[in-house]
Amino acid sequence: MSWLLPLPVAIPLLTAAGIASVKEIAPRRVLDATALAAAATATAFSLVIMVDTQNGDVLHWFGAWRPTGGVAIGIDFAADPLGAGLAALACGLVTLALLYSWSYMQEATRLFDVLMLVFCGAMAGFALTGDLFNMFVWFELMGVAAYALAGFQVEELGPLQGAVNFAITNTAGAYLILIGIGLLYARTGALNLAQLGRMLAGHPADRLVIVALTLVFIGFLVKAAIVPFHWWLADAHAVAPAPVCVLFSGAMVEMGIYAVARIYWTVFSASFDHSADVRNLLVWLGVVTALVGALMCFLQRHLKRMLAFSTITHAGVMLVGVGLLDPKALAGAANLVLSHGLVKGGLFMVCGLVLLRLRAIDELRLHGAGRAIPWWGVLWAAGTVGLIGVPYVGVFLGHALIDDGATVRGISSVQPLLMIAEAVSAGALLRVGARVFLGWGPRDDPLLTPEPPEEPPERDAAVTPMAVATTLAIAVGLALSVTPGLEHRAEHGADRFVDRSAYVAHVLHAAPATHEPRLPFTVEPASEESWAYGLAALALAVATAAFGLWRHRLPELLRSESARVLRPPLEIVRAAHSGIVGDYLLWLTVGTAVIGGVWAITLR
């Protein structure tokens, strides 16, 4: 079935080029329908590929340049369950977003469809490829389409700031990746992931490999919005149209996390051999990211910016899952990517409709206005609950697996921290739901940062496609924790993902696939510990929302004392998110210098 592999990339790209050529002549609805069909086809093919990978990795050598004597001359696509699943998620989110924008982006030019399809093809290529430089090419294509989409509503000044910050920081990150690729090529003479892994194995990591690891990881962590490289995400999300935000938060950020996992396990795992220094740094970066994201999420009143910081929180948790360097935690991260992507996508779609119907995107300005659209309030509530980690709902499965992995690796102190971060960010979303859709809480809150307003789209857009897309996204996302057999397949997929020697044998030496076990279609009961964490998260989220809404009813003394203590650090963190790209670049260099220095000293 390897002939399927190029299709999730070729079909969207070909359709994009086709639409661009005929956009002046063909009627708008025909082009929209074509774009939707192309994205749906790509999703279908990705799902078929994912099912096919249950029997072993699927391989496709472009140009028929198969490896000779264990040396890869051409470029390959090597699909495994996790990669194919990510490609399916990306294409599926594009399909939902295009369905949503059928009516939401009415007056937009057809260039929107072109850019979305290019974005779709690039993400699919990135998730499926087995060649490091090919990964970089799709990464850049993803980036270029994303920069243009972020600045789409260019009539206002805000999108320019968002797009500029996004473009400049991610481009700088991409250059770091390129230097890392150059270093690796110089050492091994290879660009194929499997071959890189084979050439680096057996030699201890020396200075070049350590610096290459640093640069490549940091470049991808910029895309994954990990502290201290995360500043661009909120700016970009605040200004991009809602269907574009669905893709940014749902798939693009996750691509960075996937890259770190893929490159570590295939290329570097033999040289570093589960090094505790690599693990500790990645895990603690993830924890800090989750906590900073949660704090900033609580301080927002701009709905999309708040959701962006919630994405940063979850990206931190995903990095912990990957950074634990453990298959169980990796399976958890994969599940988290899946459920978070769908639920967060649904929440952004609700935001889009709120902007359309209620003509504002600011929580305080929307006070009580959501009572006019109760079904969307239900969707918002469902999505938020999906993000808390309540047992058997939404992101629960991902968290449970990551927690298990943390216990196995002996870093159990991360579990409560991650729970707190997730609960606080979900609590902020609950607060919004209550204030907007129920009218609870005061109409003003000086703690929250005001932001410029956004121009709402045309008022008379049809709501049905939007409602269908949103409901689908949230419903599927919520149901993922109770999907029969998903946990087993994710764990087994992760076990295969981390098996470097099997990957090398299969890709370079065409070793036949080993017999894959038949996995059950059951839902495993959660452990008591996971139940405890899930319920604690729910309680904390509700408490956070209540705190946000009715803080002013606390005793005066308590409030003034805590303000005196907590206000300075809060303001420092808030001021650091300055919106100025020079600051962001400075943080990039500081982060690279520190991480590089730490790894240079500890890994030598």
């Binding site: 290019v118 093809g121 610096v211």
Partner: protein, 254 residues
């Protein structure tokens, strides 16, 4: 201290540390001139026998690593789409700017010598560009290089003749489909192989005769598709940016 001053003060020691780490890593590279990587070695030895292409770099770009080039071509395509989007939508007077009946400024070059030189230089440049594209498989050159050269040669039209002749000869209606065909052509060539049961982008035509225009089989077609796309894309870029400059000038009566 201003914000920028603080940034500069922090940046210098940070870049110092980063520099130390970077140079430390770079010192692990194989000595300059002593590179023995297997990949390049294999391609240098096989490009001619296998693909009948004397230019190993073009063989790498369009064949061995042809899939990368497809992605790269689409990067150009997407970026040009993005630029068109940003500049057309961002312009408040976008309706007037798009209309070609808008009175462009009276900036036609008056000197006959300059116009003559311009036309000759354009012809020479276009010929060199076409040669770079056509013989890119044999000697240094290729679709990308030739495409950019072709677009730049046409740019001479604006510089040496004037804005109105330039707009007359670079109409969007012609450039957009050219770009689209170039981009989709690459994918179609790849899909053609897939449909015949071979992996994507496999060469369906024979290897061709080395040292001639059609060496390399489907390589030459990919080469021309890329050249078309690159030339059209670059011309669109020049057009868009020039319009940003010219139209306000016209409005100011410059």
């Amino acid at each position: 201290m201003t914000r920028r001053g603080i940034r500069a003060a922090v940046a210098v020691p940070t870049l110092g540390v980063l520099g130390v780490v970077l140079f430390w890593g770079l010192s692990g590279l194989p000595p300059f001139g002593n590179y023995h990587g297997i990949y390049g070695f294999l391609i240098n030895h096989r490009a001619l026998p296998q693909r009948h292409t004397t230019n190993a770099v073009t063989a790498t770009v369009f064949d061995y690593r042809g899939f990368d080039t497809m992605g790269e071509e689409f990067i150009l395509f997407a970026a040009v789409t993005g630029v068109v989007l940003l500049l057309r939508k961002g312009s408040e007077e976008s309706d007037e700017a798009e209309s070609e009946d808008q009175e462009p400024p009276e900036d036609d070059v008056r000197s006959d010598a300059l116009r003559l030189f311009g036309m000759l230089a354009l012809a020479a440049g276009a010929l060199v560009a076409l040669w770079l594209i056509a013989y890119g498989l044999v000697t240094p050159g290729g679709g990308f290089q030739g495409g950019v050269a072709l677009a730049s040669a046409f740019g001479l039209l604006y510089l040496t003749v004037g804005y109105r002749p330039w707009t007359r000869r670079t109409k969007e209606a012609a450039l957009d489909p050219l770009e689209g065909v170039g981009a989709s052509g690459y994918v179609v060539i790849g899909l053609a192989a897939l449909i015949s049961g071979l992996p994507f982008l496999t060469n369906l035509l024979g290897p061709g005769k080395p040292g001639t225009l059609w060496s390399g089989g489907s390589l030459s077609f990919i080469n021309w598709a890329v050249a078309m796309e690159v030339a059209a894309a670059n011309l669109i870029l020049y057009k868009e940016f020039l319009e940003e400059y010219i139209v306000p000038l016209a409005r100011r009566g410059g």
